[in-house]
C-alpha cells in the first residue's frame, strides 16, 4: 500500500457488517451487534480525557506497566500464586528456615516408614526424611526453572527480535531453524542428548532446556516486534532521527516485551516439570542432587507399599508448576490491552 489509509477508516470502521474479531470476543453476546460495539467504543472515548486541558483532579501518570500492576494487585489469582511462589523462593534460598535436618542424612533402618514426630512426611526408601528432601528439592527445581527461563527468554527474544526488526534473509533462515527445533520431541531429545552427559551439575539440563526452548520465545518475540515496528510512533521516531538501535531498544522493546514475559512465566512452570520428567527418566539430575524428579522416580517403585514417598514430592511439584502457570495467566490478563 503506497498510502496510509485515513484515520477514520483504521479506527472506526466498525460497521455492523464486519466488526473486527477482537470486538466480538469482548461482546458478551454473539449477536450484540451495534449495541455492544457502541458501548466498547464509548469506553475507548471515555479513556481519552476529553474535558478542558489541565483541569480536573490530578491523577498520577500511568504507564502500561503501572496499569498492569494495579490490575494485578486486585487479582486474587495473582495474589495466591504470587504468595506461593514467594514462599517457594524463600525456602529455596534459606531451606534452614523450615527444616533443621540435612536431606542427605539417612538412616536405612527407618526406610519407608510413615509419618512420625519430627518427620511429618515420613521416610523414603533410603531412610531419608521426605519432608527435608522435599524442602531442599525446591531449590533445584526453582533454580533450573529460573535459569532455563532466563536463558530462553534472553536468547529467544534477542534472535527473534533482531529477525523481526531487520527481516529479510536472516529472518527466513531463523524461521526455518525454529521450525526444525519445533520438530524435535522434547523428551526424546532429552533422552538422546542428556544420556551422554556425565556432569553432575544442573547446567546440562538447563542448557538442554535453553537449546530446545528458545525457538518458542523467538517466534513470539519476532511476531511481537513485527507488529510493534509498524506502529506510527516507530516511524515517527525514525522521522525524528532515531537510530536503529535506539528504535529497537527504546521504542520497540518496551512495547513488544509483554507477550515474551507472559510466555516466559508460563514456560517456567513447564521447565520445572520438564526437569522432573528428565530426572525421573534418569537423564536429568542425578543423585546425590536433591530433586523432586529423582525422589519421584525412586519412590515410584514403592507406590503400593509407601505412597507417601511419592505423594509429597509430586504434590510439591504440582503446586509449584500450577503456581507459575497461574501467575503467567494473571500477568497475561493484566498485560493484554484487548481484554480491558
Amino acid at each position: 500500500m503506497p498510502e496510509q489509509p485515513p484515520y477514520e477508516e483504521e479506527e472506526f470502521h466498525h460497521g455492523p457488517e464486519g466488526p473486527p474479531p477482537e470486538d466480538l470476543a469482548i461482546a458478551p453476546t454473539g449477536f450484540g451487534g451495534t449495541m455492544d460495539l457502541g458501548s466498547s467504543e464509548a469506553e475507548t472515548l471515555e479513556k481519552t480525557p476529553g474535558g478542558p486541558e489541565g483541569t480536573g483532579p490530578k491523577e498520577k501518570p500511568r504507564s502500561l506497566w503501572s496499569d498492569a500492576w494495579r490490575d494485578l494487585r486486585r487479582n486474587p489469582v495473582f495474589i495466591i500464586s504470587g504468595l506461593v511462589i514467594l514462599f517457594l523462593v524463600v525456602i529455596s534460598i534459606w531451606p534452614g528456615l523450615i527444616t533443621t535436618q540435612s536431606p542427605l542424612k539417612c538412616d536405612l533402618s527407618k526406610a519407608q516408614q510413615g509419618s512420625q514426630p519430627g518427620h511429618p512426611f515420613g521416610f523414603d526408601g533410603q531412610g531419608c526424611d521426605v519432608y527435608t528432601r522435599t524442602v531442599y528439592g525446591t531449590r533445584i527445581s526453582i533454580s533450573v526453572g529460573v535459569l532455563a527461563t532466563i536463558g530462553v527468554a534472553l536468547l529467544g527474544s534477542f534472535l527473534g527480535g533482531l529477525a523481526g526488526f531487520y527481516g529479510g534473509m536472516g529472518d527466513s533462515i531463523l524461521s526455518r531453524i525454529t521450525d526444525i527445533f519445533f520438530a524435535i520431541p522434547v523428551v526424546l531429545g532429552g533422552l538422546v542428548l542428556l544420556s551422554v552427559v556425565t556432569s553432575n551439575t544442573i547446567w546440562p539440563v538447563v542448557g538442554f532446556m535453553v537449546l530446545l526452548g528458545w525457538p518458542q520465545v523467538s517466534r513470539i518475540a519476532r511476531g511481537s516486534v513485527i507488529t510493534t515496528k509498524e506502529n506510527d510512533y516507530v516511524h515517527a521516531a525514525r522521522a525524528l532521527g532515531a537510530s536503529n538501535s535506539r528504535m529497537l531498544l527504546r521504542h520497540i522493546t518496551p512495547n513488544a516485551v509483554a507477550p515474551v514475559i507472559v510466555v516466559a512465566t508460563i514456560a517456567l512452570g513447564t521447565y520445572i516439570s520438564l526437569e522432573a520428567t528428565l530426572s525421573y527418566l534418569g537423564v536429568g539430575l542425578k543423585p546425590p542432587t536433591v530433586s523432586w524428579g529423582i525422589d519421584i522416580s525412586s519412590a515410584s517403585a514403592y507406590i503400593r507399599q509407601a505412597p507417601h514417598m511419592l505423594l509429597w514430592p509430586a504434590g510439591a511439584l504440582a503446586i509449584t508448576v500450577l503456581a507459575f502457570i497461574m501467575l503467567g495467566d494473571a500477568v497475561r490478563d493484566a498485560l493484554d490491552p484487548k481484554l480491558r
Partner: protein, 328 residues
C-alpha cells in the same frame, strides 16, 4: 532553494506487481514558504514526503529515479547514517495521528527530551528542562506538571501540539506535515494550524503541508501542488488556483466543496475512482474521469505546461479549462 525535488520516481514492488506510486514529481520549497501538496489518498503525496524524509520502507518501496536536493545537496546520495543525522535536526515530520505517533509507554517529557539526548548529547536533566520549555512554547497548560504524563492522558489537540513540539525541538529548517489536522475536531484543527503557521514564521522554516482539505490550505499556503496518480498535475500560487484552476482535476476538486450559495443543489463529485497504481491508464492518468478528455489525452502524457511564470498545468487543454473556470 531549501528543498528541491526533481523528477522523483518511486515504485512499490509487491507480489501482485509493481505499483508506480510517484512518477516524476517536481516541487520546491524555500525558507519561510509553505507548499501545500493536495491530492486524494493514493495520489503519492505521502510517499513523496516519506522519500524526502528518507523513511520510505525499502523494500517494498524503491526510488527508481530523480533527485532530492536539500540545501543544494542530493539526499539520495547520502549514506543512511548521514541521512539519519539530517532527520530531526534539519528536517522533521509531523504525522496525521498524534496518538499513534507517540510511544505509549514513554512519558511525553522523555519523548521530547529524547530529541536533545539523541542529537545534542544533553544530559537527562537538561533534556527534561528543555521538554518543559517546548511544551510551554506550544502552549500546553501546566507543562511543568504534565511533563511526566503519558500520551493517552492528553486530548487529541494537545497530543498534536506535543508532536509539533517534538518536530520543532531542534529548530529544523524544513517541516513536513502529513495531514496534521485530519484526526482532530474542526475547532481544534484551526488552533493547531494557527500554531504551526505561527511557529513556522517564527523560525523561518520551509513547510510542506500534505492535505486533502482544501479549507486548511487556503489560509496558510503560499503555493499549491495538486497531485494525481503520482504526478503533479497543477502547481500555482494559492490565490490563482482558487480563482481559476487550470486543470480539470483541480477544477473538479474545487467544485466538490459544498458552498452556501448552492444550497439545495446536488453536490458535484468527480466521477469514477482514482486509478489503480499498477495499471495507470495510458496518456493522461486523469483521462477516464475527465469531462474534457479528447483522443490525445488517451495516447500522450501531457507535459507540465507553463501557464504563468510561477504556474504550471499538466493538461493539453489548460487554456480552455482556465477560460471555463474564469467565466464561472
Amino acid at each position: 532553494m531549501l528543498l528541491e525535488v526533481r523528477d522523483l520516481q518511486v515504485e512499490f514492488r509487491t507480489r501482485d506487481g509493481v505499483a508506480k506510486a510517484v512518477n516524476g514529481v517536481n516541487y520546491s520549497v524555500d525558507e519561510g514558504q509553505t507548499l501545500a501538496v493536495l491530492g486524494e489518498s493514493g495520489s503519492g503525496k505521502s510517499v513523496t514526503a516519506q522519500a524526502v524524509m528518507g523513511i520510505l520502507d525499502m523494500p517494498p518501496g524503491k526510488i527508481t529515479g530523480g533527485e532530492i536536493l536539500f540545501k543544494g545537496k542530493d539526499l539520495l546520495k547520502y549514506k543512511e547514517e548521514e541521512r539519519r543525522k539530517v532527520r530531526g535536526a534539519e528536517m522533521a515530520m509531523i504525522f496525521q495521528d498524534a496518538l499513534s505517533s507517540l510511544n505509549p509507554v514513554i512519558s511525553v517529557g522523555d519523548q521530547l527530551g529524547e530529541m536533545f539526548i539523541v542529537h545534542r548529547g544533553m544530559s537527562r536533566k537538561d533534556a527534561r528542562a528543555k521538554a518543559v520549555e517546548l511544551m510551554e512554547h506550544v502552549r500546553i497548560p501546566g507543562a511543568k506538571e504534565r511533563v511526566r504524563d503519558y500520551p493517552h492522558q492528553f486530548s487529541g489537540g494537545m497530543r498534536q501540539r506535543i508532536m509539533i513540539a517534538m518536530a520543532l525541538a531542534l529548530e529544523p529548517s524544513l517541516i513536513i506535515a502529513d495531514e496534521p489536522t485530519t484526526a482532530l475536531d474542526v475547532t481544534v484543527q484551526a488552533q493547531v494550524m494557527d500554531l504551526l503557521a505561527e511557529l513556522q514564521r517564527e523560525l523561518n522554516m520551509g513547510l510542506i503541508l500534505i492535505t486533502h482539505d482544501l479549507g486548511v490550505v487556503a489560509d496558510v499556503a503560499d503555493k499549491i501542488a495538486v497531485m494525481y496518480a503520482g504526478r503533479i498535475v497543477e502547481e500555482a500560487p494559492v490565490h490563482d488556483i482558487y480563482k481559476a484552476p487550470a486543470h480539470p482535476y483541480t477544477k473538479g476538486l474545487l467544485d466538490s466543496i459544498p458552498r452556501l450559495d448552492q444550497k439545495g443543489q446536488e453536490l458535484y463529485a468527480i466521477k469514477g475512482l482514482p486509478p489503480n497504481l499498477m495499471h495507470i491508464p495510458p496518456g493522461c492518468a486523469f483521462n477516464p474521469r475527465c469531462p474534457m478528455a479528447q483522443d490525445i489525452c488517451r495516447s500522450e502524457v501531457p507535459p507540465l505546461a507553463e501557464v504563468d511564470a510561477d504556474r504550471g498545468s499538466a493538461c493539453f487543454f489548460w487554456r480552455e479549462c482556465l477560460d471555463d473556470s474564469s467565466r464561472n
